[in-house]
C-alpha cells in the first residue's frame, strides 16, 4: 500500500533524521542517541516515583477522613442520646461531606494505581528497546562503513525514538492527571485545616458560616435518613421515615416500648 504514514510518525521521523544529519560521525551519533535514551529512562523512573508519592499522599488522606467519619458518627450518636438533635444534625452533615470526599479520593487512588502500572509497563518496554539498541550499536560500529552505518543507525534510532516519544507522551498524560489530583487533595486539606471535620463538640459560637456552607454541601435527605436511623437505633421515638431497619426491628413496632436501647451500638 502506497503512502501509509501517520502524522505523528512523520513528525517523529523528521525530528530524528534532523538530529542524525547534524552529526558527522556515526559512532558519535550512536553514543549520543544512547545517552539520550538512558536519560529518558531515568525520567520515566522519576515519573513513576512521583505517581507513587501522590498515591501515598491520597491514601494518607483517605485514612484520615475515614477516622473522621467514624468520629463524627459517634458524636452524632452521643449528641442524640443526650437529646441535642441540632448538634447531632450538624455532626451528620459533616460526616456526609467527609463521606463524599472519601468516595472521590477512593476513585482517584484507583486511577493512580492504574497509571502507575501503565508507566511501569512502558518503562519495561523502553528498557528492552534500549538494550536492543545498545547491542545493535556495537554491531554497527564494528561491521559497517560510515555510509552504511548511517542508514542502519537511522533505522534503529527511529525505532527507539518512537518508543521514547510514546513513553514521553504517556508520562506527560500521567503527570497532568496527577497534577489535577494534587489540586483536589490540597482542597480537601484546606477543608481539614479550617476545622471542617474537627471535633464537633468543640465548636464555638462563631461557626455559623462554616455550618451554613456545610449544610449546602451535604445532602439533606441523606442527613435526615441518617438521623432517623440513629433515632431508631437509640430507641428514641418519632422517627417515622425509618421504615425498614434490620437491626432494631423490635424497637420499631411500638415507640413506647423503649427496652434495650443500646442494642444497635455495634455499627
Amino acid at each position: 500500500m502506497p503512502g501509509l504514514s501517520g502524522r505523528m510518525s512523520t513528525v517523529i521521523k523528521a525530528k530524528i533524521s534532523k538530529l542524525l544529519d547534524r552529526a558527522e560521525d556515526p559512532a558519535e551519533t550512536l553514543e549520543y542517541s544512547y545517552q539520550k535514551q538512558i536519560e529518558l529512562l531515568q525520567n520515566v523512573k522519576k515519573g513513576i516515583a512521583d505517581v507513587v508519592t501522590s498515591k501515598k499522599r491520597l491514601q494518607l488522606q483517605t485514612q484520615k477522613l475515614q477516622d473522621q467519619v467514624v468520629k463524627l458518627d459517634t458524636q452524632a450518636r452521643q449528641a442524640l442520646a443526650a437529646g441535642n438533635e441540632e448538634l447531632a444534625r450538624t455532626a451528620l452533615e459533616r460526616k456526609n461531606v467527609a463521606q463524599t470526599e472519601l468516595q472521590s479520593l477512593d476513585a482517584q487512588v484507583a486511577q493512580l494505581e492504574q497509571q502507575q502500572e501503565q508507566m511501569a509497563d512502558s518503562e519495561k518496554k523502553l528498557r528492552a528497546k534500549i538494550e536492543q539498541f545498545r547491542s545493535k550499536k556495537e554491531v554497527i560500529k564494528a561491521q559497517y562503513s560510515a555510509a552504511e552505518a548511517q542508514v542502519r543507525i537511522s533505522e534503529a534510532a527511529t525505532g527507539v525514538g518512537e518508543e521514547m516519544a510514546d513513553v514521553g507522551l504517556a508520562m506527560q498524560r500521567a503527570l497532568d492527571k496527577t497534577e489535577n489530583m494534587k489540586a483536589r487533595a490540597d482542597a480537601v486539606q484546606e477543608l481539614e485545616a479550617a476545622g471542617t471535620f474537627d471535633d464537633i463538640t468543640a465548636l464555638g459560637p462563631g461557626e455559623d458560616d462554616i455550618d451554613r456552607q456545610l449544610k449546602e454541601l451535604s445532602s439533606t435527605s441523606e442527613v435526615d435518613s441518617d438521623l432517623a436511623k440513629m433515632k431508631a437505633e437509640l430507641g428514641i421515638g418519632s422517627a417515622p421515615p425509618a421504615g425498614q431497619l434490620g437491626a432494631g426491628a423490635a424497637a420499631q413496632t411500638d415507640p413506647s416500648q423503649q427496652t434495650a436501647p443500646s442494642e444497635g451500638q455495634g455499627q
Binding site: 500500500m1 503512502g3 501509509l4 504514514s5 501517520g6 502524522r7 505523528m8 510518525s9 517523529i12 521521523k13 501503565q118 512502558s122 519495561k124 518496554k125 528492552a128 528497546k129 538494550e131 536492543q132 539498541f133 545493535k136 533505522e155 534503529a156 527511529t158 525505532g159 527507539v160 518512537e162 510514546d166 507522551l169 504517556a170 498524560r173
Partner: protein, 92 residues
C-alpha cells in the same frame, strides 16, 4: 504493517487489514469534522479494538518504526482533531 496505539504499544497487522483500517480512519475523520463526540468515541474505540484483535503485539526487543501511530485511547475530541483531519492518519 506496524500500527502503534500511543501509550499502549505496537501491533503488527497484515496488509489485508489495511482497507478496513482505512475505512475506520475515514469514519473517525468524519466524526471529528462534525464534532460529534459520541460518534467519534464509538468509531475510535472500534478502530482501537480492530487493531488489538487483528494485530499481534510487536516483540519488545524489535526496533522498528510504525507505519501508523494512533492517538492514546483516552484522547479527547479536541486533541484528536489535529490527528484525524483531512486525509486522516492513513491517506486515501
Amino acid at each position: 504493517m506496524i500500527v502503534r496505539i500511543s501509550t499502549e504499544g505496537q501491533y503488527e497487522l497484515g496488509e489485508s487489514d489495511v482497507d478496513a483500517l482505512n475505512e475506520l480512519d475515514n469514519r473517525a475523520v468524519a466524526a471529528c469534522d462534525t464534532k460529534d463526540e459520541e460518534q467519534f468515541r464509538s468509531v475510535f474505540n472500534e478502530l482501537l479494538d480492530f487493531v488489538r484483535q487483528h494485530g499481534s503485539p510487536v516483540a519488545e526487543d524489535r526496533l522498528e518504526a510504525s507505519a501508523v501511530i494512533l492517538p492514546p485511547p483516552d484522547v479527547s475530541l479536541e486533541e484528536a482533531k489535529a490527528e484525524f483531519s483531512g486525509e486522516g492518519l492513513i491517506p486515501g
